[in-house]
């Protein structure tokens, strides 16, 4: 934790959490906790339940067993997490800036300005372009920009580097590192190894493998 801490001290704690779809358990009973400024990397083969775990933590899928809680969060402050899934939630018929403005408006424009966020992800020249013309990697960058315009302490990232080039890979690392600097939490499911400058901040959980 550094002086740039902006989030209240939250921690995510899961006890005996079993996630699954359609009544079938995909993960073993998981116990983990994520504290401010830490990142949990989820690794595992296809179908090992990485996405399901993220959806469970996002409140979209009900856990089969066990509990998890975001300790220290205040229900008054509204949703505390950003979910960034496989699908980018980018509307092809809106321009890049309109897409981002919309999410800033409905999630609360508490973070960077639209221009600054677009610059961060390298789309600053494309603000007026219809998002339908973006490449897969650029759409991904726009999805990541959504995390920057509204400050929320917990990031749930599902394959954040999918479709991104090497520079985009660095971008994800940089954004993640920044977020952790501010006292944020992150859980990322990924096949690409993400290496933060300070490896002590990362913890890896391998799903699917029996302990």
């Amino acid at each position: 934790m550094t002086s740039r801490q902006v989030f209240p001290p939250l921690s995510l704690r899961a006890t005996g959490l079993v996630c699954g779809r359609g009544g079938m358990a995909l993960t073993r009973a998981l116990d983990f906790s994520v504290t401010p400024g830490r990142c949990l990397l989820l690794r595992g083969a296809n179908g090992s339940g990485k996405t399901t775990l993220l959806l469970t933590l996002a409140g979209i899928v009900a856990p089969l067993d066990g509990v998890f809680a975001l300790e220290g969060s205040d229900a008054e402050t509204g949703p505390a997490l950003h979910y960034c899934g496989h699908r980018n939630a980018v509307k092809p018929r809106l321009t890049v800036a309109e897409n981002l403005c919309f999410w800033a408006a409905v999630n609360g424009a508490t973070g960077l300005s639209i221009d600054a966020a677009l610059q961060q992800v390298g789309l600053e020249r494309l603000g007026d372009l219809d998002a339908g013309y973006l490449s897969a990697g650029q759409s991904r960058r726009l999805a990541l920009a959504r995390l920057l315009v509204s400050l929320r302490p917990l990031w749930l990232l599902d394959e954040p580097t999918a479709a991104l080039d090497a520079e985009g890979h660095d971008l994800v690392t940089r954004l993640l590192d920044n977020h952790l600097d501010m006292g944020g939490l992150a859980i990322a499911a990924t096949h690409d190894p993400i290496t933060l400058p300070d490896p002590a901040r990362m913890e890896t959980v391998v799903l699917g493998a029996r302990p």
């Binding site: 779809r21 509204g78 997490l81 979910y83 699908r87 509307k91 809106l94 403005c101 919309f102 408006a105």
Partner: protein, 217 residues
């Protein structure tokens, strides 16, 4: 409030840039009305008598056509999951969608209804009553439709199930809708129609939001 406005603006932009969707609905509405004289024969008296019912059926069918557009695109591109975590409550999201749904799929029908009135040999007095009854009754159709669309959004290829769910709910709207056009006792029917609309519009956002948030992805 600004979040709600942003939601409205987004929906209207998407509808406007969606191209011919609105025009398709309007043409469908008129065509349904236009084929009636071919089916029942060119008897002007008979046509004038069944015209209120035909207008409501055409409006009902045209509004069902637009239902799939309400939540499915957002479901498919992942926006709906994110809207569940927005600062703006999901019921407000649905309310904004309901308003724009009415604006892009009911209002154009009302604007186009004079053509239908002409095709069905409606007299001027009946036409005005029809206009009022459509204005008052279509919000209820939109609201029931929104609930049906929300319940079926997670079902793959559920596009045809929503109209089947919605049709029985819409029967009272059709009864009071046509009742308020016919000459006798039209004001009582119109009041019932207004009550239905108000109730449906007030409750639908919460019901639809509950349906969306209790569904898994």
């Amino acid at each position: 409030m600004s979040a709600f406005r942003a939601m409205l603006v987004r929906e209207l932009r998407l509808a406007r840039r969606g191209g011919g969707d609105v025009l398709t609905l309007v043409l469908f509405f008129i065509i349904v009305g236009a084929i009636v004289p071919f089916a029942v024969g060119p008897d002007r008296e008979l046509l004038a008598r069944i015209a209120p019912g035909m207008v409501w059926i055409a409006a009902f069918l045209a509004m069902l056509l637009g239902l799939d557009r309400l939540f499915r695109p957002d479901h498919e591109d992942g926006s709906l999951i994110l809207l569940r975590q927005a600062d703006l409550p999901l019921s407000a999201v649905v309310a904004a969608k309901l308003i724009t749904h009415w604006l892009v799929s009911a209002l154009p029908l009302i604007v186009a209804s004079p053509f239908l009135a002409m095709l069905l040999a409606m007299d001027v007095e009946t036409f005005w009553r029809m206009l009022i009854s459509l204005l008052v009754g279509t919000p209820a159709l939109a609201a029931f439709g929104a609930v049906g669309a929300a319940v079926t959004v997670a079902i793959r290829r559920g596009g045809l199930i929503a109209p089947i769910l919605v049709a029985p709910l819409s029967i009272p709207v059709l009864i009071f809708g046509t009742g308020s056009i016919s000459a006798t006792q039209s004001s009582a029917a119109l009041l019932f129609l207004a009550a239905l609309s108000l109730m449906a519009v007030a409750l639908a956002p919460f019901a639809a939001a509950l349906a969306i948030s209790s569904g898994e992805d």
